[in-house]
């Protein structure tokens, strides 16, 4: 299963990069979000155990628990990526407000 997740990570990352290269700040922002998702998939893929039950002490007897360390890292990653995403959206808003465009190349031209 994690092999499949690894492949999916690659595909997702590629999609994110493609989106990132669009000449459109909104789409590029979405591209970043796709990259974040890809990284989240990576975290799940590299988990050490093939878990059957959630990582709770009370469930330890009833089967292999999933890898809690990876999940803790994942929690942090999600929060940070959300913060980053918010800043990106803020930047896009600023671009729209200041240059009246969300086309990165047009912003270049305005700068002269």
């Amino acid at each position: 299963m994690s092999v499949l997740l690894a492949i999916a990570t690659g595909v997702m990352f590629g999609l994110g990069v493609f989106q990132l290269l669009r000449r459109d700040l909104i789409k590029a922002g979405m591209g970043f979000y796709i990259l974040f998702t890809a990284i989240n998939l990576l975290f799940i893929a590299v988990g050490a155990f093939d878990g059957k039950v959630a990582a709770y002490s009370t469930l330890l007897g009833s089967g292999q628990v999933s890898d809690p360390l990876v999940q803790a890292l994942l929690l942090t990653a999600i929060v940070i990526s959300f913060g980053t995403y918010a800043v990106l959206l803020g930047l896009i808003s600023v671009s729209s407000r200041r240059y009246q465009t969300v086309d990165p190349d047009a912003v270049d031209k305005l700068k002269g």
Partner: protein
């Protein structure tokens, strides 16, 4: 390594100080050009002293930490392979540091100001407009500068314990190690530095001497760098996209070569262990499909929703992992993120969006193909990298196993993930909420400094002022409410503007729902806080849940009304309070001689409803407050009605 660590600390201390000082000088005088500055010492004595301390550290004069770092560096150089050359270089560079330090302090703060040449009239603000910086501005660098000296004097006490855990061995650092080679060389460096400073003027004057002066060498070096830069610049066309390609591409290139090396010779097989795996695969396909759709979809709004679908599918995968905590956070964040994108889209006018969409769809096939190839290559690289990581991972991870075994015994909490987040790796979490809070404040500062004259401002008072300044109404129209009320034209305008910001979702039903949901969200948040140790959900989810409740208010009631009715909610201070609480909780054990972040478990407290209390609760509350504050700040600023032009 020891030297490097000390050097790192020294650099942090004096560079940060000098940057801050430079900022203050720039702020106070409006220029950073050395030629225009001078005599600031009399006007800003405190800043001058700070800069002096930092400069002394940089120069490596004895009582400071800088001296110790330099001693160590010379010592290390003496023992290095090409010792003569390396030592000479080190001494020379420290000599130049001394020169720089003197230039900095003398020219900017002590030397009387040069006469104005008249030509700088518009810009040369020094002399007249120097205003003394506020105490708060000076305090930051002051602390750092004093630290630099104190750490030098008390190096054994302060720095050694800091770096010993990193090195894992006893270290010895002395302020004065006796008169030995490094000490003498160090003095030599200072002497040379001073000489260079005084010889600077003649050196500058006699550039025509046949022996290449330092300046000529410098110029030659700069020329070389410029030539190289020009070459590099030819590849720089100012398009963000190509920079990204270069950065990502090189990283992938570096990664995938090692990835391939690890992959060769291992067999890869895809096994479906259970029905859950099949479901996971389906969800994976769904998320990939939705992501792909978000690329193909023309309209931004729909694309954002497709991304939301992808995110939820990933959340589903987390749920099946099984990782309920992560899944919960993923669902919540996905929701908040989608709300955020849609809110932001509402702030970007339709013509702008239409313009980029048209650009995008009229893009040449060649361009699309090029981007697709780049994306494929990078995706392949990442895929290989991940694959090699997956194939080569240890099947039994001892670190993880330790966490699993000890979570309950040490912390009396059943949710292992939560214990890792709040205790075993609590420091990470403190940093994490700090980053999140900073991100929120970043959004706030980004969006709350609009271009003058491009902003609609909605309070009646501001509105009046703006109209007045535009000459649309007479100056003598007072700010009094009575006069405002009597001015029908103005009133109409205000009403029209307010109507624009009022939400179109404000039906009686949605209003009631929103009103009810927020208290419930807070209640759910409380439950998450109380049961964080034993069930999915923790301070973070609590924060996001209440953040979502607030988001609903902004959507349903519109900005103005939500702001008016949520006056009790002051999100920005909440961030600070939350982070403060978390750090306080971490620091409290220090008072009792326990390590930083030690968790105290209150085992014998028998509370109703199966609640387990420990000091983690305080930490969770800190996380909750800062995350709620952060997400509210982000929402509020992005939802702020500036330049509303219709969706």
């Amino acid at each position: 390594l020891q030297t490097a660590l000390v050097g790192l600390i020294v650099h942090a201390l004096y560079k940060a100080t000098l940057f801050l000082v430079a900022g203050i000088v720039d702020h106070a005088t409006g220029t950073r050009q050395l030629d225009k500055l001078g005599g600031l010492g009399r006007k800003m004595p405190a800043v001058a002293i700070i800069a002096g301390l930092a400069a002394v550290t940089m120069a490596g004069v004895p009582p400071t930490l800088g001296f110790i770092a330099k001693e160590g560096l010379i010592e290390a150089a003496l023992h290095s392979p090409a010792s003569v050359l390396v030592t000479a270089l080190v001494v020379l560079s420290s000599a130049f540091m001394v020169t720089t330090a003197i230039i900095l302090v003398w020219d900017v703060f002590v030397r009387p100001a040069k006469e104005q040449h008249g030509a700088h009239g518009s810009h040369g603000a020094h002399g007249q407009h120097v205003h003394v910086p506020a105490a708060g501005m000076v305090a930051g660098p002051a602390v750092l500068a004093v630290l630099a000296v104190i750490t030098g004097l008390g190096v054994g006490m302060l720095i050694t314990p800091l770096i010993t855990p990193i090195l894992g061995a006893e270290t010895e650092l002395h302020l004065f190690a006796g008169i030995n080679t490094p000490f003498l060389l160090s003095l030599l460096a200072i002497g040379v530095g001073v000489v260079v400073y005084f010889a600077r003027q003649p050196l500058n004057a006699v550039i025509s001497v046949p022996v290449p002066s330092g300046r000529q060498l410098y110029n030659a070096a700069v020329g070389g760098v410029e030539a190289a830069a020009n070459f590099v610049l030819r590849s720089q066309n100012g398009k963000l996209r190509y920079y990204l390609v270069a950065i990502l591409g090189s990283v992938i290139l570096l990664m995938s070569t090692s990835g391939l090396a690890h992959l060769s010779g291992t067999s890869i097989s895809i096994q479906f262990g259970s029905s859950a795996d099949v479901l996971k695969a389906v969800l994976l396909a769904l998320s990939l499909g939705a992501t792909f759709a978000s690329i193909l979809l023309k309209r931004h709004l729909i694309a954002a929703l497709a991304l939301g679908v992808a995110g939820y599918s990933v959340g589903g995968i987390f749920l099946l992992e099984p990782a309920p905590d992560v899944a919960l956070v993923q669902f919540l964040v996905e929701t908040l993120g989608t709300v955020l994108v849609i809110t932001m889209l509402g702030k970007i006018s339709l013509p702008e969006r239409r313009q980029v969409i048209e650009h995008l769809w009229n893009q040449s096939r060649k361009g699309v193909a090029r981007d697709a190839i780049i994306a494929t290559v990078i995706g392949l690289g990442v895929g290989l990298f991940t694959l090699s990581a997956v194939v080569n991972r240890p099947s039994r991870n001892t670190v993880t196993q330790w966490h699993i075994d000890n979570a309950y015994e040490i912390l009396n909490a059943t949710d292992i993930v939560a214990t890792i987040v709040t205790d075993f790796r609590g420091m990470d979490t403190i940093i994490e909420i700090t980053v999140f809070g900073m991100a929120a404040l970043g959004v706030l500062t980004l969006l709350s400094t609009p271009e003058p004259g491009k902003t609609w401002q909605f309070s009646a008072g501001r509105m009046l002022r703006q109209l007045r300044s535009r000459g649309m109404i007479r100056e003598d129209v007072g700010a009094q409410a009575e006069i405002e009320a009597k001015d029908p034209a103005l009133q109409k305008e205000i009403a029209a503007l307010q109507a624009q910001t009022a939400s179109r979702f404000a039906t009686p039903l949605t209003r009631i729902v929103a009103t009810i949901v927020l208290p419930f969200a807070l209640l759910v948040a409380l439950a998450h806080l109380l049961y964080g140790g034993g069930a999915p959900g923790d301070g973070f989810t609590a924060g996001v849940v209440s953040g979502l409740g607030v988001a609903l208010w902004y959507i349903v009631f519109g900005y103005d009304e939500a702001k008016r009715r949520l006056t009790w909610l002051r999100p920005a201070p909440l961030i600070g309070i939350g982070i403060g609480l978390a750090i306080l909780n971490a620091a409290l054990p220090l008072l009792f001689g326990e390590p930083f972040l030690m968790t105290t478990v209150l085992r014998d407290l028998h509370l109703p409803a199966d609640i387990h209390l420990s000091s983690t609760m305080l930490f969770e509350t800190g996380i909750f407050l800062s995350v709620m504050g952060g997400s509210s700040v982000i929402l509020e600023t992005i939802a702020h009605p500036q330049e509303v032009e219709g969706l």
